[in-house]
């Protein structure tokens, strides 16, 4: 069979009935367009949500203490257990735990060049650099010795550097003053907060945890974060670590637990599923109506071209060739409609992304599925008219007025 020839005939016949063809394609265009847009927005939103919940740290989870509720529901005085470096070492031993990080927090004000900035001061150990992706911009990170010796060293993020220091200023090794105390500035690291998520003008500084404890009067480790070996085993690992931690501390009035982010994801997934279902059914109905429209117009076309069919049969076209010709024609209409739908969807996606807090993405797979599905609709709904055409007897067809 000469597919290319049939395709050319189909295209010229579509071209000869431009308005009719466009109207016929409309259902397919709208259907394909709707599906692609909703998938694009959904994918974009999901990526966004995952980023927001986990940031770069998809395998990191925080453990925290929660007291058991009292029998009568009254608020109870409770004391959070004090965690030590030894406890952290225990957690580090657990299977599935890549790095157990102890983190302390404090606030301070950094003065320089007659300017000042509020800093969130994070007290970290060497573990922090194993667990997080800290990218150095200038200088060096802390060493073991810095932590063990409680060296008065500090690192600031590049956001703080840009706010307070001149670009060409050589600041590594300088002594800076934070809340009235002098520290040696040893490094600048790239802020882990992407610009689009930053709010407020606060900077961040890292300090050895030991030093931080001393400065802020808290010797214990305030917060434990666990880097799991993989995102899949995150919950499992967190569960293990929380139980172990509760065990070590002999807790009776409470326990260690963790935020299960996957719950948020599931919640979003089920919401997205409903939206997809609603839009999907609208698109499905649109495609169905579009398909019936194609069938209808193809039946009209068969009737209009009865003589042509008769002639083609007279000069040697078999039933199969006629069937094929009309199938290709129906398929060409819907495929064209599908492609137009994809094009419009891409445009809409780009425009809509300007107004959304995230970027909607049209993936190549979705485009391919959209195109093949619209072609399939043409074949399915083209069968009836094509079959009708192929069954015409040449004599009746030629006699047709």
């Amino acid at each position: 069979m000469n597919i290319l020839e049939s395709f050319k005939i189909a295209l010229s016949s579509i071209w000869n009935h431009k308005i009719r063809s466009i109207l016929t394609m409309l259902g397919i265009i709208i259907g394909v367009c709707a599906v692609i847009i909703i998938v694009a927005i959904g994918t974009g939103a999901q990526t966004q949500l995952t980023d927001e919940l986990f940031g770069d740290d998809k395998n990191v989870i925080e453990l925290y203490y929660e007291p058991f509720p009292t029998d009568d529901g009254s608020e109870m005085m409770w004391v959070e257990p004090e965690l030590t470096a030894d406890d952290l070492a225990e957690i580090q031993q657990l299977p599935g735990v890549k790095v157990a990080m102890g983190i302390n927090h404090g606030w301070g004000t950094l003065f320089h060049n007659e300017k000042q900035i509020e800093l969130q001061i994070v007290g970290v150990g060497r573990d922090y650099f194993y667990g997080k992706n800290i990218e150095m911009v200038e200088g060096r990170p802390f060493t073991m010795q810095d932590n063990d010796n409680m060296n008065r060293v500090v690192m600031i993020d590049d956001f703080t550097r840009d706010k307070l220091f001149k670009e060409d200023e050589d600041i590594i090794g300088e002594i800076v003053e934070i809340s009235g105390n002098p520290y040696k500035l040893v490094g600048v690291y790239k802020s882990t907060t992407p610009p689009e998520y930053r709010w407020g003008d606060d900077g961040e500084a890292l300090m050895p945890r030991t030093l931080n404890g001393m400065m802020f009067g808290a010797a214990e480790i305030q917060q434990v974060q666990v880097l799991a070996a993989s995102a899949e085993t995150l919950t499992e690992t967190a569960d293990l670590a929380a139980t172990r931690l509760s065990e070590i501390k002999n807790l009776e009035d409470g326990e260690y637990t963790y935020w299960d982010m996957s719950e948020y994801e599931e919640e979003f997934a089920s919401f997205y599923k409903i939206v997809t279902l609603v839009i999907g059914s609208i698109a499905g109905i649109s495609l169905l109506v579009g398909g019936i429209g194609v069938m209808n117009i193809m039946l009209v076309s068969v009737t209009e071209r009865t003589r042509e069919i008769g002639l083609r049969k007279a000069i040697g076209a078999t039933r199969k060739r006629i069937l094929f010709q009309f199938l290709i024609e129906a398929m060409t209409i819907t495929l064209l409609g599908g492609l137009i739908g994809i094009g419009i969807a891409m445009l809409v996606t780009i425009i809509v992304s300007q107004f959304l807090p995230f970027t909607a993405v049209v993936s190549p797979i979705v485009v391919m599925i959209g195109a093949s599905f619209s072609a399939l609709i043409g074949i399915v709904f083209g069968i009836l008219p094509a079959n009708k055409a192929s069954k015409l007897s040449p004599i009746d067809a030629l006699r047709h007025e």
């Binding site: 020839e5 007279a314 000069i315 040697g316 076209a317 078999t318 039933r319 030629l398």
Partner: protein, 233 residues
């Protein structure tokens, strides 16, 4: 399906009855006819005599209701539809009163059409179609659409299309019915030339002057052959 063409078509007791609803219309009755290679036959008769139906049966377009049609001494009654399509494609060239040209395709494309169904490659198709257009005197009209051609020119395109796959038989149903007398004359001369080149030409007409070009005239009346006359040319 390769078919070796020999020189004989034989119709035995061919009947054709059309059924429309409860009404049965007998069109042909016990037709016996033998056609030899290279003949120039005119089928004549008043309208409703069944001459077009007879031609369609000869051209494998319409199956007879009863009777046998032998081709090379083989009955074709049992032939599959696809085999008949193949026979029409390779061995019969149809010329119609209303031309039946594809309206949106140019003359060359129209002539090419039978070759498409014969699975001939693009280049050869164009070559052969061009050659046929030249043969019927329309070499310079290849890119014209049918509505840009006169009646006579359209009929020439139709004849070129009938000839392009080099069939043994040309079947023409009132080929000059829509043409003026001068153009008719030119078209008939073309048929005479084709017959002289060895084609079997069978035409259906109700005009004496047209039938006069043929060597053999078959008269039909009410579905029966009333006379089978040979010219002694």
């Amino acid at each position: 399906m390769e078919w070796k063409w020999l020189h004989m078509m034989k119709l035995n007791k061919i009947n054709k009855i059309y059924q429309s609803g409860k009404l049965t219309v007998p069109v042909l009755h016990d037709i016996d006819l033998e056609i030899k290679d290279g003949e120039f036959i005119a089928i004549m008769g008043p309208s409703g005599s069944g001459k077009s139906t007879l031609m369609n049966i000869i051209g494998f377009l319409d199956p007879p209701t009863s009777g046998t049609y032998e081709l090379n001494e083989e009955k074709i009654n049992s032939f599959h539809e696809n085999q008949l399509a193949g026979l029409r494609n390779k061995h019969i060239g149809f010329v119609f009163q209303q031309f039946f040209l594809l309206p949106r395709q140019n003359a060359l494309k129209n002539v090419e059409a039978p070759l498409v169904y014969a699975d001939v490659g693009k280049r050869e198709r164009v070559e052969r179609a061009q050659e046929m257009l030249k043969k019927v005197g329309l070499g310079d009209r290849a890119t014209h659409l049918p509505n840009e051609l006169s009646g006579g020119q359209k009929q020439r395109v139709c004849i070129a299309r009938a000839l392009v796959n080099d069939p043994e038989i040309i079947l023409a149903d009132e080929p000059t019915g829509a043409l003026d007398s001068k153009t008719s004359e030119q078209i008939m001369e073309l048929f005479v030339q084709l017959n002289q080149e060895g084609k079997t030409v069978i035409l259906v007409t109700h005009e004496e002057e047209i039938a006069a070009y043929a060597d053999r005239i078959i008269f039909l009346r009410d579905g029966k052959i009333t006379e089978d006359r040979r010219h002694s040319a």
